[in-house]
Amino acid sequence: MKNKWLSVPYIVWMAIFVVAPLILVLIYAFTSRSGGFTVENFTTMAQYVTVFGRSFFLALIATLVCILLGYPLAYYLAREGAGMRRMATMLIMLPMWMNFLLRTYSWMSILENTGLLNTLFQKIGLFALINSVFGTNIEYFHMINTQGAIVLGMVYNFLPFMVLPIYTVIDKIDYRVIEAAQDLGANTRQVFRKVIFPLSLPGVLSGITMVFVPAVSTFAIPRLLGGGMVTMLGDLIEAQFMGSAYNPYLGSAISLVMMVVVLICMAVMNRFGEGEEGAVVL
């Protein structure tokens, strides 16, 4: 069953449709509108520093929230019985079958000033209560079109990508290893800190990658939940290719820089992750 040649077509395919496009991005990034070599695309990017900063910041927050929600969820899931576990993993996958734009759009209905949540608060008399206590005159909470809403959208959309890898890793942990730790004097908290958590780190790391990367590059979420008030990297790139500021060269340059920064982040994190493993030991 040693059919090495079977890999050849796919390697060719990857060369054409994975590697070549990225090389094109690289070339475009150093090309001017007139077609010559230039680094101007990178110098003009200086004005986008805030966009870069904001995107990475929001993605980071979203990733953190995903860990905070996703890790306990994955952990608790792994402790459930087999039937429950299977159902729960299914429930985590299932939303993906409803287009993410639509689900995000649905958040608009929920978060708007006149949306479902505010209506609910209104109905239960929350605003009346607040107004009477604080003497304010609130009619709604302002939730939509804020950075918070964008983070919420990211967390909502990418949470499953955090939960699933962590769950998979925790689920694979040999229960005897946990018993061994108890046997050696570790109480429940120590078992978690010294055994379960370090063993689940690979899952956390891949979860972080799977949340952070799409979060930093999203453009649909800020557009739907941010109301055009917040520009993010994805918007910027999209605008260069599909939007008002048509300039694929600049777009390529931005993509390239984003890719490189993400790669660096991931590399640092992986290194840090390994160090973390050592640190947990000590």
Binding site: M98, L116, F219, M258, M259
Partner: protein, 281 residues
């Protein structure tokens, strides 16, 4: 491990509530009598009825299903073959191929989409100017893009199965008189099947859910459901979209429940057989 207590259960319920609240809203308003997405005006099936006469949505649905199905099936076959090939490679070259394989997975969708669109536009323009044709981005480029990002998922779910494979099984089949390909078909393939099916499912799901890559590679003629939704979201999403999504969602839900039921029944059967085995000893 200890079982979950009240608070951890509550936490799980709340997270699931968070995940399902928008879906619930969406489904409810697909039955709304008016177009409003926040005011309930009574129950109605009108959007479900209208849906089937809405050419654009039906067309987008067809495109979506067609692209997803075609891409995942092609990716499934190609990915399985590729996985077998990669598995046979030497350690070092396997490492290189696998890291390239990972690029579409870890790269931002938008970069994948943008880079592919650059390639397609360049290729189409070059082709047209050489041969005087009038090709353009469309179904084929969309399909290629989908296949490209689907294959890695298939490979990643088939490779572990290959690793688990008892290397002697293939030889055993040959030993019993099966020639190379027959041995593969009768023995290896059925063993890889769970991985392949899993890969197919993931690929199909990813294709269905994809928006960004399609958006950049579909050109102007075709659009997927996701693109249609994005275009609509600028103004107002027709509840017809809610309706079609509800239908899709419900069919997948039913499918999964059926699979789940079958699975647990099989589990129970296997458990019983094992128990019988244990008592016999």
């Amino acid at each position: 491990m200890k079982k979950n207590g009240f608070w951890s259960r509550l936490f799980m319920v709340l997270v699931f509530l968070f995940l399902y609240a928008p879906i619930f809203v969406l489904i409810v308003f697909s039955f709304n009598a008016t177009k409003s997405r926040s005011v309930w005006a009574g129950f109605s099936l009108q959007w479900y009825v209208k849906l089937f006469s809405d050419e654009a949505i039906m067309e987008a649905l067809r495109t979506t299903l067609l692209v997803s199905a075609a891409a995942s099936v092609v990716a499934c076959i190609a990915g399985t073959a590729a996985a077998i090939g990669i598995y046979a490679l030497k350690r070092k070259s396997r490492g290189i191929v696998l890291s390239v394989n990972n690029i579409p997975l870890t790269n931002a969708d938008i970069v994948t989409g943008v880079s592919l669109s650059l390639l397609f536009v360049l290729a189409v323009n070059a082709f047209n100017s050489t041969f005087g044709t009038r090709w353009e981005l469309g179904f084929w480029t969309l399909l290629i893009a989908h296949i490209t990002f689907d294959i890695p998922y298939v490979i990643l779910s088939v490779l572990p199965k290959l690793r688990q494979l008892d290397p002697n099984i293939y030889e055993a089949a040959q030993d019993l008189g099966a020639t190379g390909f027959t041995a593969f078909r009768k023995v290896i393939l059925p063993d890889l099947m769970p991985g392949i099916v899993n890969g197919l499912l993931i690929a199909f799901t990813m294709s269905i859910d994809d928006f960004v890559i399609s958006y950049f590679t579909a050109g102007s003629k075709v659009s997927t459901l996701a693109m249609e939704i994005y275009a609509m979201a600028r103004r107002k999403i027709s509840p017809e979209i809610n309706a079609i999504s509800t239908l899709l969602f419900a069919s997948v839900l039913i499918l999964l429940i059926l699979i789940n039921i079958r699975q647990s029944r099989q589990d129970r059967l296997a458990k019983r057989q094992k128990a019988i085995l244990a008592t016999k000893k």
